[in-house]
């Protein structure tokens, strides 16, 4: 997991976050399934992976004081299932940063790989920041 926090101002298009690794343990999956009220099917739900990655990403930069960050849109593509207990690595970069008056949009692109370096999923997250 990532430990450093970057200031929002430092996030410019092309900025790459340090890659983050996760172990998708049985307890993490079980907690996720309970939270989303689902039975599961023996694999890590793809959205459990996305959720953890987005949470880590959002926690890796500090927002201007008094700002509220809201998830505005999400694009995702799933390429392969990941077994419970597997490890993944996520690469994230800033695709765009838009400011319109009091509203800012931060668009982040992510690619997630398994231990064999095969792509598991990719996505684009838009975070709206408002005061």
């Amino acid at each position: 997991m990532q430990g450093n926090t970057v200031n929002y101002e430092e996030l410019i298009p092309g900025y790459e976050f340090s890659p983050t690794s996760y172990e998708l343990s049985a307890s993490l999956v079980s907690k996720y399934l309970q939270a989303v009220d689902s039975a599961g099917d023996g694999f890590v739900p793809p959205l459990a992976i996305t959720a953890c990655v987005i949470a880590t990403m959002a926690g890796s930069f500090s927002l201007p004081p008094g700002t509220v960050a809201i998830h505005a849109s999400q694009e995702l593509e799933f390429f392969k299932l990941v077994p419970i207990g597997a490890a993944i690595e996520c690469h994230t970069r800033v695709a765009q940063k838009i400011t319109r008056g009091k509203m800012s949009m931060l668009i982040l692109e992510l690619d997630i790989f398994d231990q064999g370096k095969e792509k598991v999923q990719s996505g684009k997250t838009t975070i709206a920041l408002t005061t």
């Binding site: 993490l28 907690k31 996720y32 309970q34 939270a35 989303v36 009220d37 689902s38 099917d41 694999f43 739900p45 793809p46 959205l47 459990a48 996305t50 959720a51 953890c52 987005i54 949470a55 880590t56 959002a58 926690g59 509220v68 960050a69 809201i70 998830h71 505005a72 849109s73 999400q74 694009e75 995702l76 593509e77 799933f78 390429f79 392969k80 299932l81 408002t130």
Partner: protein, 140 residues
Amino acid sequence: MLTEIQEGKTLNPVVKHITQEKINLYAEASGDFNPIHVDESFAAKTPFGGTIAHGMLNLAYVSEMMTSAFGQNWLSGGKLRAKFKEAARPGDTVTINGKIDCVEQKDDVSYANCSFECRNQKGEVIVAGEAIVKLSIGKR
């Protein structure tokens, strides 16, 4: 799972009741403790006036509907684009509906193009989007 993949086919809806307890559980599972989701006194002072569910929680319900319809084809060959239009709040009941808009054939592979919506009990659209599922080769 759907037995027939055809244009116009509606997907089995998913209905969920949002509670603060579920939001807190989701925060713990995902690690997303944004105070807008879990801190009622903080959230009360924002334009939302109270806590709201994580957008990804609603998206998990969309994925449940897609998994129920398409199984592993969705989980390992799905693609989605979603806009979070309104906030889901504790006490809301959300219903996710979807349908197959068209089935396309590209390079001997079939794709089901779907649209989905998540609405609250007042009929307000919380999440809307499109999803594409890669089906088995040659299947139509």
